[in-house]
């Protein structure tokens, strides 16, 4: 087991500072820690911080959330800010510098999707990591485009009635060089994807990472990893990646766990009925078929 995670400890330095104001049991904190570690921390700049990143940054100048400099862009405008920074650093002969962003699901999939889509189309070398906590957590927990089916939020009291978007699917349609979903419950897989996203040569990349959120998902803080893993194990949040025209699953679930195991750990699914569960099961099956379809559609590489 230790051997498996060896790579995580390649970078001994920590870049996430204690002044961060994440809740205990925050999935986003785990993700941010590894995302900053994956960059190596040198010659790197955050071109945009979205999501809970902004509200957990801490008090200036006593402490920023990370030791990596961060430009606070506008919600939904990280795409162009990153492009501008990349272009300027290229002009100044600093092609090696990494420009990256940490954005939220709302910032990336709703208000900022057009901006990201255009950024990917322009093809600047930029790496984006999306903190997918399935809602607008920094603003108090409202419904977002990535909120999962039937989940309670402060604006969907009876559960969201529409399935979520999948950012990687949307960006695959415009041939982004690298995109993937990841899950903080599978840190080795996530870390590998982060590294890959950062190592793209002169090309954009985006990964969407599932990060459970305590106040809105309503689970016990110590169960953050369990909840996160169950999302993948039940098929609600399949892990896959798309790289230069080839699409593959990265975590295979041979036998899916029953959905109830995932739902019962979280307060946001308290209201679900038998019918809702059937609907969710149908969504999971459809998603599975869709992914299989993508695997057939794009040249298959066995990972």
């Amino acid at each position: 087991m230790i051997e498996k995670y060896k790579e995580l400890f390649e970078c001994k330095e920590e870049f996430l500072l204690p002044s961060g104001r994440a809740c205990p049991g925050c999935g986003g904190g785990i993700m941010t820690r590894l995302w900053t570690k994956a960059t190596g921390g040198k010659n790197v700049v955050f071109g945009g911080i979205g999501s809970c990143g902004t509200s957990t940054t801490g008090m200036f100048p006593i402490g920023n959330m990370t030791r990596i400099p961060a430009i606070a862009a506008l919600l939904g405008s990280n795409g162009p800010t990153l492009s501008g920074m990349r272009e300027a650093l290229n002009i100044r002969g600093m092609q090696d510098a990494t420009v990256m962003a940490l954005d939220g699901d709302g910032g990336a999939a709703d208000i900022g999707f057009g901006a990201y889509s255009a950024m990917v189309e322009r093809g600047h070398k930029v790496a984006v990591c999306v903190n997918d906590n399935e809602g607008y957590s920094a603003t108090g927990g409202q419904r977002s485009g990535l909120t999962s089916l039937k989940a309670w939020t402060r604006t969907t009291h009876k559960g969201k009635d529409r399935p979520p978007k999948h950012l990687p699917f949307l960006l695959m349609a415009q041939d982004i060089p690298y995109t993937a979903t990841a899950n903080i419950g599978y840190p080795d897989d996530m870390y590998r994807k982060m590294k890959k996203a950062l190592d793209q040569k002169n090309q954009p990349s985006l990964i969407q990472v599932l990060c459970p959120c305590i106040p809105n998902w309503k689970y016990e803080p110590r169960k953050v990893v369990e909840v996160s893993r169950l999302a993948t194990e039940t098929g609600m949040y399949p892990l896959y990646e798309y790289e230069k025209g080839s699409f593959r699953r990265t975590v295979f679930i041979k036998k899916k766990k029953p959905l109830q195991e995932y739902l019962k750990l979280q307060g946001r699914f308290d209201h679900v009925t038998e019918e809702d569960i059937k609907e969710m099961q149908a969504y999971i099956d459809a998603l599975d078929r869709k992914i299989d379809g993508y695997i057939r559609m794009y040249s298959v590489e066995i990972f």
């Binding site: 200036f60 400099p69 961060a70 430009i71 405008s77 795409g79 501008g84 272009e87 002009i91 100044r92």
Partner: protein, 397 residues
């Protein structure tokens, strides 16, 4: 070597940016300013300018490209009009608040609705309290020179604020005028290649430093204070200094914050902004030939508003009535002039005419009529209606 050429306002804006050696341009087309981005692209393709060029999916993004580039330590430029300014609005506050210099050329255009292409100043007036410096140009030559000056002002270490260089769409953006093109070497001398100084965000490793973090803190009032002082105190001084220096080097001066024409012995003054200044100068000559003493004050810099300069000018002048030719549909220019003169001991009467909306022409005849009304006011000694729409077309019959 200086060169004389004929060009349109948009070309002059593009050429000004080229002479200023911009390094990144964020671009999104909107008439009447689209020609500027085409011009820059042409320079890049011909190899005359080394510049990053990012075409975006909207003005908000094109502005944020400019912002992202400027914060990373290069000289950044952009051009837009009307709706573009409205769409950029959120980022404009971000940029002036973080004190990142850049220049945007604005060909003024009507803001919807009514749906129009022709100029009035509602677009830049709605951005008056964004903390940006606003220059308004009178001629094509002034556009070229002001772009160069604006970079120097914006990047001055005591200012560090972004600037708009505004010129009336179509009136200036598309009219051909004679322009003296300054020599590149002399421009380089006046405005050296941008080097991010100590005040900039660029850190010792060459990367931009954090702007994220300042949240929740009531002591950010001081951020506001220093930005206010930079705009209302330092920028006013620096704009005058830069204009003087420019005048010495190139022989063309625009008066810094405010320009005046025959004001000292005038009885009525026309206060203008933008392209109608030239018409006002012409009108003044005609009126004076008939023995009516009028003069012109050109508000060259609308933000920071030249309050002191305006008061000083009126203290020296005999004029007891000023007529504001207000191209902003809700009378902002009149309000500003009134506010500036309020504390003056012997203050003149102020009358604003909202005119030239949605590109309606302001002819010398109109100006003569306005000035005549000004003389009436001077005789009566009071103003009936301080702000009035000028010359509305009436329904016939």
């Amino acid at each position: 070597m200086e060169e004389i050429s004929y060009m349109r306002g948009n070309q002059a804006a593009g050429l000004g940016a080229k002479l200023a050696r911009i390094e990144v341009m964020g671009a999104y087309p909107i008439p009447p300013s689209s020609e500027v981005m085409e011009q820059i692209r042409t320079y890049i393709d011909k190899g005359e300018l080394k510049c990053g060029y990012v075409e975006t999916e909207g003005e908000k993004s094109s502005h944020l490209v400019t912002y992202g580039a400027a914060i990373s330590g290069v000289r950044a430029f952009n051009a837009t009009s009307g709706q573009g300014i409205a769409y950029m609005m959120e980022g404009l506050h971000l940029q002036s608040g973080t004190r990142v210099p850049a220049v945007i050329a604005v060909a003024n255009r009507t803001l919807f609705a009514p749906h129009g292409m022709h100029p009035d100043h509602q677009d830049t007036v709605s951005a008056r309290d964004t903390g940006w410096i606003q220059f308004h140009c009178e001629s094509v030559q002034e556009i070229l020179d002001t772009i160069i000056q604006a970079f120097k002002v914006a990047e001055h270490e005591e200012v560090m604020l972004p600037a708009f260089v505004c010129y009336d769409g179509y009136y200036l953006s598309h009219s051909l005028e004679k322009v003296t093109i300054p020599d590149q070497k002399e421009v380089d001398d006046f405005l050296p290649m941008y080097h991010p100084g100590e005040n900039s965000y660029v850190g010792p490793n060459g990367l931009p430093m954090s702007t994220a973090g300042p949240m929740y803190d009531p002591w950010m009032t001081e951020f506001r204070y220093i930005a206010y002082m930079a705009l209302n105190q330092n920028a006013k001084r620096v704009i005058n200094e830069v204009d003087d220096e420019f005048g010495k080097k190139f022989g063309r001066k625009y008066g810094g914050l405010i320009d005046s024409y025959l004001t000292e012995d005038a009885e009525v003054l026309l206060v203008t902004t933008g392209s109608n200044t030239a018409t006002a100068r012409f009108t003044t000559d005609i009126m004076r030939r008939n023995g009516k003493k009028i003069g012109v004050i050109k508000i060259r810099v609308f933000r920071p508003y030249p309050r002191e300069a305006l008061c000083e000018l009126l203290e020296k002048s005999k004029a007891r009535v000023i007529i504001v030719l207000d191209r902003s549909p809700f009378g902002a220019y009149t309000d500003e002039a009134m506010a500036a003169l309020y504390n003056l001991k012997d203050k003149p009467l102020v009358k604003g005419f909202i005119c030239g909306q949605c590109g309606r022409d302001i002819t010398p005849y109109n100006m003569i009529d306005m000035a005549t009304q000004g003389f009436d006011i001077a005789r009566k000694g009071y103003v009936d209606q301080p702000v009035e729409f000028y010359f509305l077309r009436k329904k016939e019959g």
